[in-house]
Symmetry: C2
Subunit: 244 residues, 2 copies
């Protein structure tokens, strides 16, 4: 309750500050389907930051490889965030860390170094070891260079989703640090990454009932506005469902 | 010079403290060839931390999938670090962040949030978007499940190394923040990840002359003891060279 009040207050103050030119604008490069953009959307919602502009970069049309966006982010990947006049911010985890440092309430990293290490490592299971194996450029290489058919590509994707979720469940089910959320009873970057991984699992029809702890935490998160409103299928341009 | 003196002093103090049981022991799970373990070795060297025990987990023999190691790290990936009695630390970037928080001198992250975001994002180009596509488990899947031959697998690896280094060079050559190192004139996590990526490029015969900024910074780093001594080919059990 207190947290909600302070979030609303922070948001109101921010809007007021922006209107009075105290603060520079926030521009978010996003696409409904990007799971990395989904992570940043959740973090923005948790922090009560409403971007002044959301630029859609259609991954399905390859707009991330066009010159316009290449100038923004030479790596040609989503998401990217511009906060005021500063240089572009890119890479979902780096953006979340930045948001946590510049908008500390509520925190999405624990206060103690060991806790922070655990949260960052859990986040990396999804953001570094699982998700990068199934992004559009990888699927494109598998289709165009390796000439692998769609069922084979989907089996690959499902395999790495399962590997990631198995590792995640292994830690979550075993570690005494796991609580209502992945780390204790407050939302962290680990939950945000977990939810993005579980959403990818749903997109690719992976059975998640074998990851009961991951599933419980995901359901707890998705019952919160900050997560629910950020869901890929609730973004402009998204279809009603994703089928393969 | 001052930095070197303070590092030597820190190391001497640490050894003294350990001998007098002031401080718990550091156990490092590593393998000569792992580029992620290489990153953590560099960070340990920079911080002047000498692990009390280095446990070799032979990735080529699949020891990372054996029960002994699975109990240490359910994700079955290297590296892992135990600092005292605490739970296992895993994921190279999370370990480096932990080391930077617990052993702040010298820092491997800049002091300002924007600088930190840039360093973390550059680090992620290698650690999240490039390296995870070529680790043993991925190569194993390509060989055993997709039945792809070795030249095809090597072309895949070279492709993702080039994608990573192209993105890295794109940022390094363009950004005014680039200095003697990837971010200004002090070593950061971005350099550590860059060097691991460039070392992977050398292992897989990727021509790095087309990435002049990345090459210059890598050479500057490799002239430093902390980097040179951490090199995969200088570790126990390593061959004289890696051929494909």
């Amino acid at each position: 309750m207190l947290r909600r009040t302070s979030r609303l207050l922070a948001r109101a103050l921010r809007t007021y500050a922006q209107k009075n030119c105290w603060e520079a604008s926030v521009k978010f490069y996003s696409f409904w389907r990007s799971l990395a953009a989904f992570r940043v959307r959740i973090a923005l919602n948790i922090k009560g930051i409403v971007p002044d502009e959301v630029v859609t970069v259609d991954l399905m049309k390859g707009q991330q490889r066009q010159d316009d966006y290449k100038r923004v982010n030479p790596q040609m990947l989503l998401p990217a965030l511009v906060d005021g006049e500063g240089p572009i911010l890119f890479q979902s985890v780096a953006i979340m860390e930045y948001l946590d440092e510049t908008h500390p309430q509520p925190r999405i990293l624990p206060a103690d170094p060991r806790g922070r290490a655990r949260v960052r490592a859990l986040a990396a299971i999804v953001a570094a070891d699982s998700h990068p194996l199934m992004v559009p450029r990888v699927r494109g290489y598998m289709e165009n260079e390796l000439k692998l058919d769609e069922p084979t590509r989907n089996t690959w994707i499902q395999h790495w989703i399962r590997e990631g979720l198995t590792a995640m469940e292994g830690h979550l089910a075993r570690d005494k640090e796991t609580g209502k959320f992945a780390h204790g009873d407050a939302v962290t970057m680990a939950d945000i990454c977990l939810v993005s991984g579980m959403t990818g699992a749903a997109f690719f029809q992976v059975d998640t009932s074998v990851y009961p702890t991951a599933k419980r935490i995901t359901e707890t998160c998705m019952a919160m506005d900050a997560f629910a409103k950020a869901h890929p299928l609730k973004q402009p341009g998204a279809p009603a469902s994703v089928g393969h």
